[in-house]
């Protein structure tokens, strides 16, 4: 992969003025895991073959036109003489066998790749249930055998570096498609069936993913991020996620929690929030227990900053028209306090 890149980078640089590879988080020409690398190799190979075929035919057409420019004889009536007979047949007689050999080779490579990536190199220790909603991703981490180590988060998928992860794909509504190009190819999320895919990140880092099957009004705004961490860090993160939300300390945040419980908790869960009379156990929207551990809000579309968070809480319809989150009828004070509360959910 590396060696090939060194040859192709100059060409790519010509094709992509001003864009360095590092700025292309969604390209699948450079990949970072065993579920995607063979796909990229196949992609480079077939693309190279395609360009070769294209250039060959294009030059054949151009040279053919150029050849025909010379004067051709006319017949007795002054009409141009017509070519007859099968003198062009070598094109078919040679071209077809060569095409068949190339196609056969491509098919064999395809099948080997297919066999190679359809199963992970070793049985994954971690299984995630990813539920696609219009238009966000719910992610459930399961620890089989230890029920209390199960928790739910959204739009940010943490995985350990160098270990395969199995993903079970469930649809809450319509068909979506789950895709993080540098880690794995697409797998559709279809109601009525549970598709299973897998991937593995070879390097620590953040990988972007996005829904690719048209799923309605805000299909364009249904992204997610895969955060690959060293295993130790990953398990630390997991343990942290299991904890309930801490009780807010500042008066603003305490007031914010009350506002949250009355306005937001019907759709959102914050584990540990509320008291015996009211609980934040809503299932419509993302689980917010550890909201501040996520870098983005609104399904990967906005950075999780105070400003965007406030704007989102106040009027999500403006930022992502049609989303289930309604425009909140909050006073300025309530808004600021809710945001203050949310920012304690780290």
């Amino acid at each position: 992969m590396k060696r090939r890149l060194s040859i192709l980078l100059p060409i790519a640089a010509l094709l992509l003025p001003g864009a360095a590879w590092a700025d292309l988080p969604m390209t699948y020409l450079i990949t970072d895991g065993p579920a995607a690398n063979p796909l990229a190799h196949l992609g480079w190979g077939l693309a190279g073959l395609s360009v070769f075929v294209l250039l060959f035919i294009a030059f054949a057409v151009l040279i053919g036109i150029w050849r025909g420019r010379k004067n051709w004889p006319t017949d007795a009536a002054g009409r141009p003489k017509l070519m007859r007979g099968a003198n062009g047949m070598p094109w078919l007689a040679i071209g077809l066998p060569v095409s068949i050999v190339l196609l056969f080779g491509s098919a064999v490579w395809t099948f080997f790749t297919l066999a190679h990536v359809s199963k992970p190199p070793q049985d994954p220790a971690i299984t995630l249930d990813v539920t696609a909603h219009q238009w966000w991703w719910e992610v459930q981490y399961r620890h089989y055998g230890q029920k209390q180590r199960t928790f739910v988060t959204a739009n940010a998928i943490h995985v350990p570096v160098g270990q395969p992860v199995r993903v079970r794909l469930i649809s809450a509504d319509v068909i979506h498609s789950f895709w993080a190009p540098q880690l794995f190819g697409k797998m559709d999320v279809i109601p009525g069936q549970t598709n299973i895919t897998w991937f593995q990140a070879n390097k620590a880092g953040v990988y972007r993913g996005q829904c690719t099957e048209f799923c309605g009004l805000q299909h364009a705004h249904m992204a997610f991020h895969v955060i690959a961490q060293p295993p130790a860090q990953f398990h630390q993160w997991w343990t942290h996620q299991l904890a309930d939300a801490k009780q807010p300390v500042s008066p603003a945040a305490q007031h914010g929690e009350k506002v949250f419980l009355h306005h937001c908790a019907v759709c959102h869960t914050v584990r540990g929030a509320g008291g015996p009379d009211i609980l934040a156990m809503g299932k419509m929207g993302p689980d917010l227990t550890h909201l501040m551990s996520r870098k983005y809000i609104g399904a990967g579309i906005l950075p999780n900053t105070t400003g965007y968070l406030a704007a989102w809480v106040e009027n999500a319809q403006h930022l992502k028209p049609g989303v289930d989150m309604p425009t909140m009828d909050l006073t300025n004070r309530q808004l600021l306090d809710v945001v203050a509360y949310l920012q304690t959910l780290n």
């Binding site: 094709l15 992509l16 864009a19 292309l24 969604m26 390209t27 020409l29 063979p38 796909l39 990229a40 196949l42 992609g43 077939l46 693309a47 395609s50 075929v53 294209l54 035919i57 057409v61 053919g64 036109i65 025909g68 017949d75 009409r79 017509l82 070519m83 007859r84 062009g88 047949m89 094109w91 078919l92 071209g95 077809l96 095409s99 196609l103 491509s106 098919a107 395809t110 099948f111 790749t113 297919l114 359809s118 319509v174 794995f184 190819g185 697409k186 559709d188 009525g192 069936q193 299973i196 972007r208 829904c211 690719t212 099957e213 048209f214 309605g216 009004l217 805000q218 364009a220 028209p321």
Partner: protein, 646 residues
């Protein structure tokens, strides 16, 4: 009523003035509006198909330009998400359904009888009916967009997004009913084409002498005959699900959304071949005339055409590689998708060899055909890449596929169609098109197209999904989208030059001779434009290249006879011929002008409007009115026995 003798031996004559005048009078339409609505002349039907489908092309193009403005830069909000989704849905429906096939039906209807040496299609009234249904269904499909009720789930309309739970508005109902309405036109049209090819050719045109353009259109229509019921059914099932609560796609009640995908793509892939094979056969037919030689390996190309369609029924799953099917099944359909490249390669090599060994004349038509070859290869190899299952997991639903579909549909269909118009315009109108404007037209379209659509491959390789109404900055998608938008506008200017050239040439073009390109097939023996009766005496065909026989020294094996022949001059008469040998075995009495086609089409429209509005009494009345309309249509003419005549 005059009794018509049951048997007759046609007299062999050389046509004279009075004979031709008699024919002209016999085959002419009534004047004025009555004639307009009652004509069944295949040439008029063909022209109407061409003009109407081109208007749809322009509308679909406008929709595309609006979308390209929106995508010019990231985070653009010139139009809303809803409007964008409506536009891309209608753009797809318009281009794929309302433009791509009808435009080819236009060529087919105008040219088939002329190329086949006949006076009309097999069922002139059904033929006219297909046009009216096409026109009315096209309008029907468009009632949603201007009223804000356009369908917004894309042309392949996946459930459950298209179901009533997630899409309660009337948009999808308009689409479902309108497209069922439209399929009636397509299915009826394919019956007309197939029956014409089988039973209504010139005497002597045996199966091996049928020109290649006929084969392309025929193959497409045979495919459609079996593919269309699938999509008609699936839209019917969807409409029943939406309006009556049936459970075809409802998982909770035993249905499944994958049923939609299977039935849709069982139709969808043959449909792709149906809209490219006739266009390819236009190239195969016209390119040789501009290269001064017959097509290289013409019988191989015909066989490849048929083989493509047969294989085309076995590759539908390659649209569904990411749906979680078993690996074995995907391997099978992947292999089939690789194999289907082979017959396409036959055509490409045949075209290249024709240019290579011929003497190309640099007409505008030739430029379009030569460009088509190159664009075909680009669309072909990108399709070949998506045939590789694992690679397709990355490519599918990105702009790479958008680039692919546009190279296929514009590269193969639009370029061949425009080249075909330049080629046959003299025959259609009696005027030559301006070659000077043609130069501008070609280069603007060719450069604009490649500037616009080639970068889409790169956009796709950089991971941009299709059908997004806007995209964030910082993902590397900005510059290629900008270039695409610029190219799209250059392309649009090129199309504008084409329209201008057509209009100007109609008014002020040079008068066209009968055979301006020195081409080889029968349509060029008629005057430009052809008389109403097409051929004074019916030609008797001795080879695949009737006008080149002498120069190709083919006249030893068979000689086409044009100047004298059987006189068929009692009402609308033409020969019916045997399938294999083209031996005449009956003198057919073709129906003349009739209001039955438009009445039936309007009643169908009434039925569908009633179904859309759920005013069942309208639908019921329309259906009941169809009974007398059908009786009127099929009423046996007292003089001749043709109760089942179409």
């Amino acid at each position: 009523m005059a009794e018509i003798p049951t048997y007759r031996t046609p007299e062999i004559i050389r046509p004279d003035e009075s004979y031709l005048e008699k024919l002209e009078k016999m085959w002419s339409d009534k004047p004025g509006l009555i004639g307009f609505f009652s004509t069944v002349d295949h040439k008029k039907i063909g022209r109407r198909y061409l003009v109407t489908s081109f208007i749809f092309l322009l509308v679909g193009g406008l929709e595309a330009l609006i979308m390209r403005i929106q995508l010019f830069q990231p985070n653009e909000h010139i139009i809303s998400a809803h409007l964008y989704n409506e536009l891309f849905s209608m753009h797809g429906i318009t281009m794929i359904f309302l433009y791509a096939m009808p435009v080819l039906s236009g060529f087919g209807n105008y040219l088939w009888p002329l190329i086949l040496g006949q006076r009309d299609m097999a069922f002139p009234r059904v033929n006219m009916f297909t046009y009216w249904v096409f026109l009315l269904s096209g309008i029907f499909l468009y009632i949603g967009l201007p009223t804000g009720n356009g369908t917004d789930v894309g042309w392949f309309n996946y459930v459950p997004l298209a179901g009533s739970e997630y899409n309660p508005g009337p948009g999808v109902d308009i689409y479902a009913l309108g497209i069922i309405f439209f399929w009636i036109s397509i299915a009826a049209g394919s019956v007309v084409f197939i029956a014409t090819m089988m039973r209504a050719r010139a005497p002597g045109m045996s199966i091996s002498r049928i020109p290649i353009m006929i084969w392309g259109t025929l193959t497409a229509n045979v495919g459609l005959l079996f593919a269309v019921p699938s999509v008609l059914l699936v839209f019917l099932e969807l409409w029943l699900d939406r309006r009556f609560g049936t459970d075809f796609f409802d998982v909770a009640a035993g249905g499944h959304p994958m049923l939609w995908q299977h039935l849709f793509w069982i139709f969808g892939h043959p449909w792709v071949y149906a809209i490219v094979l006739p266009a390819m056969s236009i190239v195969s037919q016209c390119l040789p005339a501009h290269c001064r030689r017959p097509l290289v390996g013409q019988h191989w190309v015909i066989l490849a055409t048929i083989l493509t369609m047969v294989l085309g029924f076995g590759v539908w799953v390659h649209h569904m590689f990411a749906t979680g099917l078993p690996v074995i099944a995907m391997g099978f359909f992947s292999a089939a998708s690789f194999i289907i490249v082979i017959p396409s390669a036959v055509s490409v090599f045949a075209w290249v060899a024709t240019i290579w060994t011929g003497r190309p004349i640099f007409t505008t038509a030739f430029k379009f055909f030569a460009a088509e070859i190159i664009l075909f290869v680009i669309g072909g190899v990108s399709g070949f890449m998506t045939a590789a299952v694992p690679l397709d997991w990355e490519l599918t639903d990105t702009y790479f596929v958008v680039a692919h579909i546009h190279y296929v549909l514009i590269g193969i269909n639009v370029f061949a169609v425009i080249g075909g118009i330049y080629h046959w315009f003299p025959k259609f109108s009696g005027k030559m098109m301006s070659e000077r404007l043609g130069w501008w037209n070609f280069w603007l379209m060719f450069i604009g197209f490649n500037v616009g659509f080639f970068p889409m491959h790169i956009t796709g390789l950089l991971g941009m999904p299709r059908r997004v109404y806007t995209y964030p900055a910082g993902l590397g998608w900005t510059w290629s989208n900008m270039v695409t938008t610029i190219g799209a506008f250059i392309f649009a200017i090129g199309v504008g030059v084409f329209v201008f050239n057509v209009v100007r040439s109609l008014k002020a073009g040079a008068k066209a001779p009968a055979n301006p390109w020195d081409a080889d097939t029968l349509e060029w023996t008629t005057s430009s434009p052809p008389p109403h009766y097409n051929f004074g005496v019916i030609p008797r065909v001795g080879s695949m290249h009737p006008l080149w026989e002498e120069r190709l020294r083919m006249d030893e094996t068979g000689k086409t006879i044009l100047d004298e022949g059987p006189a068929l001059d009692e009402e609308h008469e033409m020969f019916g011929t045997t399938i294999m040998d083209g031996d005449p075995d009956v003198i057919l009495k073709e129906p003349g002008h009739s209001f039955a086609p438009i009445i039936m089409a309007l009643l169908l429209a009434g039925m569908f409007i009633g179904m859309l509005l759920e005013w069942w009494w309208i639908s019921g009345a329309a259906v009941i009115a169809m009974i007398p309309a059908m009786l009127y249509w099929f009423w046996p003419s007292p003089e001749v026995g043709r109760a089942a005549e179409g």
